[in-house]
Amino acid sequence: MEHVFFFYFAAVIVVTSVLVVALRNPVYSALSLLIMFFHVAGLYVTLHAEFLAAVQIIVYAGAILVLYLFVVMLLNVKGEDRYHAQLPVAGLLGLLLLAEVLILAFAAGRPVTTADGVRQAVAEAGNTEALGELLYSTYLFPFEVASLILLVAMIGAIILAKRDIFDRTVKE
């Protein structure tokens, strides 16, 4: 049963991620990325990461993709005619790397020991609870740094996208 769900999600993820790259119209690319985000969230549910599945849908599908679609509509660009000139080189490189990674993933012996350090059961006692406890104890400092990154990104986006912000302050 788990295999059925995995192969369904994996097939849709692979097909839609190829479509993101292959489709000419940016709106269609963004929409197939939306489908991919939903299926990645489904994959997270099968991996007992329910909180991350919810966050994936809220943040990626709800916020990030809306931002992409907003910019695509704002710029009103038409679909491009052809791909970049380095298409053969890029395709060859991608296929080589893919073959290497697949060989490494499937052929090599895989470790059976678990990681050292804090061992916390993922499934038991609620996924959100375990995640929150770890986030506010062990990873408290990175958590605060993440909030700082969001603040810097917000200010940076406003400064970059606002027209003539410096001229106006000079005039006033």
């Binding site: 993101v20 690319s29 406003i158």
Partner: protein, 101 residues
């Protein structure tokens, strides 16, 4: 009967390399940013799969941080795209050759 970890690694490798090829072959800068999102999602799948494999919830915390960085990257990246479009009125990467020699 659980799905082996190598299946998740294979899926993540395929998605990541699709993103790499997308960055290399597309000329629309918005699609290039979308391909970067593909790569971030591939690493997130790896994190969650290993988190389940090792029964250690720390991997999911790192997905949380990757999500934060992705949101920041999208905000700043799209602002840069808007500023570029204002300056050059195109989003084709081959037109931006100021730093090329």
């Amino acid at each position: 009967m659980t799905v082996p970890i190598s299946y998740y690694l294979g899926l993540s490798a395929v998605v990541f390399l699709t993103g790499v090829v997308g960055v290399l072959i597309r000329r629309n800068i918005i699609i290039i940013l979308l391909s970067v999102e593909l790569m971030l999602n591939a690493t997130n799948i790896n994190f969650v799969a290993f988190s389940q494999y090792f029964q250690n919830v720390a991997g999911q915390v790192f997905v949380f941080f990757a999500l934060t960085v992705a949101a920041a990257e999208v905000a700043v990246g799209l602002a840069i795209i808007i500023a570029l479009y204002r300056a050059r009125s195109t989003i084709n990467v081959e037109e931006f050759r100021l730093l090329k020699w």
